[in-house]
């Protein structure tokens, strides 16, 4: 990820395209997200993660929490109404759409102010 000149000047936001994530394995995606977040960046994923990847993201986040260093993450996504409507056959055939804009940031810097089905409003503080 490209670095800003001096991170103390502000908050870095990484917008990661679906195309970039497509070529990565689950663990590579999780590493990319957590490395960014642990550096104090806000990571925005164009297409989000699959439920299985979300479950692993929580698990890996937990193993990395360390007192006075890293408290974990805040994560917000739009509700995945498309996926909830998918039929069982679609899900078995892998046609389920899990695409959903996802915002992830360090728990001590990001606070969700408002969220509904088509708007996420977050307050981000500097490190």
């Amino acid at each position: 990820m490209a670095e800003v000149k001096d991170p103390s000047d502000g908050v870095q936001i990484d917008l990661i395209s679906g195309e970039r994530m497509d070529g990565l394995t689950s663990m590579e995606k999780i590493r990319l997200i957590l490395d960014g977040v642990r550096d104090g960046n806000i990571v925005i994923l164009e297409e989000g993660l699959s439920p299985d990847e979300e479950s692993r993201l929580i698990e890996v986040t937990m193993t990395e929490i360390s007192p006075d260093e890293f408290n974990g993450i805040e994560i917000e996504t739009y509700p995945k109404s498309e996926a909830a409507d998918a039929s069982l056959l679609d899900r078995i055939m892998g046609k389920e759409s899990t695409k959903k804009l996802t915002v992830i940031g360090p728990a001590n810097q990001i606070e969700t102010l408002h969220k509904d089905k088509n708007l996420i409003s977050a307050l981000v503080s500097r490190k």
């Binding site: 439920p51 929580i58 937990m62 193993t63 996926a83 969220k115």
Partner: protein, 213 residues
């Protein structure tokens, strides 16, 4: 001939293990911290086995290890349903030890508790992916159910095609709203209860038998 007989035997053994009524289903009790999961697990265990599962507390992350109570036999309409109850630590995406300091804890104890809590959440996620056959999702009906952790967890459970029963706990509290939970997760049936007071447990047991029997 021998080969055919062996094949038949292994198919029937596989079918027996798939559909055996003897094997208790492992039902994970999931939900955010302080939803009343252990209170519910203890209520079910006490009602049907006489023993408790673990200590309850108002301090978040009291349960920091998944705890299993085996062979809980629930009787409904003359039919017995046997389940293993797995009480899991409350799932979250963040743990800050300084929050425990507010509960009159020394720093060393708070740090230890937060470390155990993070291990417990990781363990709970692992159980969900590998080791449970169904889920009871417990929510505190006096708080907003439409949180990211709840949405994510329910999405993860749905993606695994596990049967899930949503319980709206703490209906004894003044701010309780069962409808708020029904609106947040309309794709699932929501059963109101107070695990602490034992309110509406009959319906809870009926539904456990229906969903996991």
């Amino acid at each position: 001939m021998g080969l055919l007989t062996n094949l038949k035997d292994s198919i029937s053994r596989a079918a027996a293990s798939l559909f055996s009524e003897e094997d208790p289903k492992r039902i994970g009790i999931y939900g955010p911290p302080n939803a009343g999961k252990t209170t519910l697990a203890n209520r079910i265990a006490r009602d049907w086995t006489g023993d408790a599962v673990g200590p309850e507390s108002h301090v978040p992350h009291e349960t920091r290890r998944a705890r299993r109570k085996e062979n809980v036999e629930i009787e409904r309409d003359g039919k017995k349903v046997t389940i293993d109850i797995v009480d899991t630590p409350g799932v979250t995406t963040k743990v800050d030890y300084t929050e425990f300091l507010e509960h009159d804890m020394e720093k060393d104890d708070a740090v230890r508790r937060s470390r155990e809590a993070t291990e417990g959440v990781a363990e709970a996620m692992h159980w969900l992916r590998e080791d449970v056959d169904g889920v009871i999702y417990v929510l505190d009906s006096s708080t907003d159910p439409f949180t990211q952790v709840n949405t994510m967890l329910i999405g993860i459970i749905e993606s695994q095609d596990l049967p899930v029963l949503i319980l709206a706990n703490k209906i004894d509290l003044e701010d309780s709203s069962v409808q708020r939970i029904r609106n947040a997760y309309p794709q699932h049936e929501t059963i109101p209860l107070s695990a602490l007071e034992g309110d509406n447990m009959d319906e809870v047991y009926d539904k456990i038998a229906e969903y996991f029997g």
